[in-house]
C-alpha cells in the first residue's frame, strides 16, 4: 500500500520535506514572475490582451504587472526600440533588482523587425541580455504565454544558490 504511494505522505515522512535548495528557490521564483511591461509599440496591445480575461496570464502566476522596475523580475520588451529609447530601456533594466530576466517580444524587439533604418536599434539584445525571443509581428497572446512558460522552465533549471554566492562575492569585492 505504502510502497505504491507517489505523493508526499506526512504519516510516513513526518513534518519534514527533503529537497534541494535550488529546487525550492526556483519553484518559488518561477511561480511569481512579476513582469515589467516595457510597452513601446503595438506589441504592448497584445501584451495587454494576454493580461486580460480571455488569455489570462494569471493562470501561470505572472499577472502582477509592475510599472516600477524595483518591484519586477522580468522585463517584457514589447515593441520597437529606437536608439533614443535604448538608454531608457537599459537604465530601467539596471534599476531592476536581481534576479531578473528579459523577454524580447516580437520582431522589432528581437531584431529591429521591418525597421531597417537609422532610428531603430536592430535588436534589444545589443543593450540587455535577452532570455526568450518571441517571433511575430505582433505575436499573439498565446505566443507570449508560451514564451513566459519557456521562461519559467528556464528559471526552473537555474543554479540559483551558485548564482547567489557568485553575486554575494561580487558585491563583497
Amino acid at each position: 500500500m505504502i510502497a505504491n504511494e507517489v505523493a508526499y505522505n506526512g504519516k510516513v515522512e513526518g513534518d519534514v520535506i527533503v529537497t534541494k535548495a535550488d529546487a525550492v528557490i526556483n519553484w518559488i521564483r518561477k511561480h511569481s514572475v512579476w513582469p515589467m511591461p516595457m510597452g513601446l509599440a503595438c506589441c504592448a496591445i497584445e501584451l495587454m490582451a494576454s493580461a486580460a480575461s480571455r488569455y489570462d496570464i494569471s493562470r501561470f502566476g505572472m499577472e502582477v504587472m509592475r510599472f516600477s522596475p524595483r518591484q519586477s523580475d522580468c522585463m517584457i520588451v514589447a515593441g520597437t526600440v529606437t536608439y533614443k529609447m535604448a538608454e531608457v530601456v537599459r537604465r530601467i533594466y539596471d534599476q531592476m533588482g536581481d534576479p531578473k530576466w528579459v523577454v524580447a517580444m516580437g520582431a522589432c524587439a528581437s531584431t529591429g523587425g521591418m525597421y531597417r533604418s537609422y532610428a531603430v536599434m536592430q535588436g534589444v539584445d545589443t543593450i540587455v541580455p535577452v532570455d526568450v525571443y518571441v517571433s511575430g509581428c505582433p505575436p499573439r497572446p498565446e505566443a507570449l504565454l508560451d514564451a513566459m512558460i519557456k521562461l519559467q522552465d528556464k528559471i526552473g533549471n537555474e543554479s540559483s544558490v551558485k548564482n547567489l554566492k557568485k553575486r554575494a562575492s561580487a558585491v563583497a569585492e
Binding site: K84, A86, R91, R116, Y118, A119, Q122, T126, V128
Partner: protein, 205 residues
Amino acid sequence: MIDQDFTNSLLAKHDYLSKISHADCLTLSCLPADWVDFAKFLNQEEAFELLVDLTAIDQGDTADIRFEVVAHFYSRIHHDYLRVHIDCLDNESPEVDSIASIYPAADWHEREAFDMFGIIFTGHPNLKRILMWDEYPYHPLRKEFPLAGIDTPLPAADVVEATGASVEPAPMMGGPFVSPGSGPMSDAEPRAKDESWTEQIEKPV
C-alpha cells in the same frame, strides 16, 4: 470652396505670391521675406485658422533651390485647403522665418523640419530636435543621408560604457522597398531594391 476669383484677388493683393499648378488644392509660392506677413494675413483676414501640416522638401544637391518649406492650411469658412511653398534661398544653411507665434501648431512641425532637414526657423521659441536626440549630428531626411544610418555614438555615456552599443547602419537584407520614382504608375510600385548586405556580407561602398 476656393474659386478662381479668390485666387485672383489673392494674387493681385500680394505681389510676392505666385501660383503653382497642382491638381488638388490651390498652391502658392511665397517669397521667404514675406512669409510671416502672408501667414498673418491668412490667419487674421482670410480665416485660414488651421495649420494642418508644415514640412520640407529636399530637391537634392544639384537643384538651384535645394530646400523648400511646405505648409498646408485649412479654412472652416472656405471649406478648403491651401498649400504654400517657401524657398530656402541658402542651400548650405537653409533659413526660413518661424510662424510659431501666429500658428502655435507650427511649433513642433518646425522643430521636426529642423530635426529632419536642418532648416533653421528664425524666431522660433524653442528650436531643438524633436525626434532624434540633441547631440545627433545628422539630418536624416536629407537626400545624402543613407536610410540605414551612419555610425554614431549613443547619447548616454553610462549605457555605452556598460554595453558598448552604438548607432550602427541597419542591414538592408534585400531592401529597401522603394519606388523608382519615374515611369507609368503601374510600373512605379515600390519594389525591393536589393542592396543586400547583412552582418556577414560587407556593405558595398
